[in-house]
Symmetry: C2
Subunit: 246 residues, 2 copies
DNA sequence: CGGTGTGAAAGTTTTCACAGCG
DNA sequence: CGCTGTGAAAACTTTCACACCG
């Protein structure tokens, strides 16, 4: 496959005309993560079937998902990893840097401050806040902890659009409201409570106890299911459940 | 509503006959979390409409979801919080204790060791493991860090069924295989990589960078959407996105 | 040949709407 | 009356299957 032009994305604008299903976007992130791994391993091209197999999806699903955004493939060949990575990052927005604010510097918050995995997709924790005067002024993982009252100034002066909430459940709603008032447009919420915010604010919720609860259900009900089936296939097709929560 | 008998669950067994959609189970966890909050606040009963409004779902969806598992409501009244909580916990399996093993005691792992939110649903980290000899033998958050080679013995002798993977991406697959070999049936995977395991092993994946990526997409594409709409309603109905990942 | 892109079919989930109940 | 439980309809998502391409 010589150095021909990418076959798609007619103009510079993203074709986000009709609304793309959320589940498609979550798979997009998985495709991208896997593509980056493959490219780092030296793979130049990949077919929808190969990519799907690696992630537990069908070839048709991979092609359909990509089809929401344009035409990226070469018939008979597949997709060029480098091109597809570039395109996916354009779509997901991670070719540009995303500074993020974090509120709540407890156990989990401190761990997130030190988490190296955000940088991979151009995210960085730009500033951290806490309501506890004992924490304010400390530097943790190289980041100065600021008073919550500074949130609006920092958000506005730096143009930050995303935030993470890592405070106890009872404070999460009011912190969320302060974030929105400051101009934050999207929130990852680690507090175990449902936030009520204007619908134009994007929310992704991560509740660690709920993740485990999904497993306890699945593992418990497997009993009944195993009993229901009698004889069956021996092979183990190697699959995994989705990611990219909600 | 006098102290009459719960109207449902004919026998002691769960009606997990046909397979319940995963998305229903993830909403069940949200219902339960909210019910527990309401009960703690002193609310005795709740209707499907109220519960749905609090979580951003329709009344019909709440009733349909519950309908997969039995009949829990009282016409004209709604649901009794205490009864419904009990039933949901039976369904999700969290009326019994779930000891969990954790592998990987880095930044994030240490934070999870200290996370108080697991206990709420009867989860507890029973043992933690690391491959790094410098960490083995230390006690962190009151838990002794053991060598990875001890995993099979601990899992078998204590009957543990769930595990959490908190190691770097390049080690996650082999750790997962060791967990499965030891008898683990469900895994929460915090490593940013897709695991390939036999399909009877339940997997929930949490990738913190991907959570943010979903927001960067949503926030970016909001531009296009906002432009597409011209005139519109002023009200702000208060809704939030789902949780309970994959 | 191997593989994409895509309509059409099949399958799944959500919403509607209403009978029935206390 | 207010609300549940549930079939039937609508909406949405996945799979199929095949024309087309290099």
């Amino acid at each position: 496959m010589p150095d021909q032009r990418p076959p798609t994305l007619p103009t510079g604008e993203l074709p986000s005309d009709a609304s793309v299903p959320k589940v498609v976007v979550s798979r997009l992130s998985l495709y991208l993560r896997e593509l980056q791994r493959l490219e780092a391993a030296g793979q130049g091209t990949i077919s929808s079937g190969q990519l799907g197999t690696l992630l537990g999806f069908s070839d048709a699903q991979v092609r359909k998902d990509l089809g929401f955004f344009g035409q990226f493939g070469y018939p008979g060949v597949g997709y060029r990893c480098d091109e597809l990575i570039r395109a996916m990052r354009d779509i997901l927005g991670t070719n540009q840097p995303w500074p993020v604010v974090m509120v709540g510097v407890g156990n989990l918050g401190q761990a997130l401050l030190g988490y190296r995995g955000f940088g991979r997709q151009n995210f960085s924790i730009y500033a951290a806040f806490d309501a506890d005067p004992a924490k304010v002024g400390q530097t943790i993982q190289g980041i100065l902890i600021r008073p919550l009252d500074d949130l609006p100034d920092v958000v506005k002066s730096s143009g930050i659009r995303l935030g993470m909430i890592v405070v106890p459940a009872q404070h999460a709603q009011s912190v969320a409201e302060r974030m929105v008032a400051a101009g934050i447009e999207g929130i990852v919420n680690f507090a175990p409570v449902t936030l009520s915010l204007p619908p134009q604010v994007q929310i992704v919720a991560v509740d660690l106890a709920i993740e485990l609860e999904q497993l306890s259900f699945a593992v418990t009900s497997k009993l009944a299911k195993a009993a229901a089936e009698s004889a069956q296939t021996p092979a183990q097709p190697l699959v995994q459940d989705g990611a990219a929560s909600a």
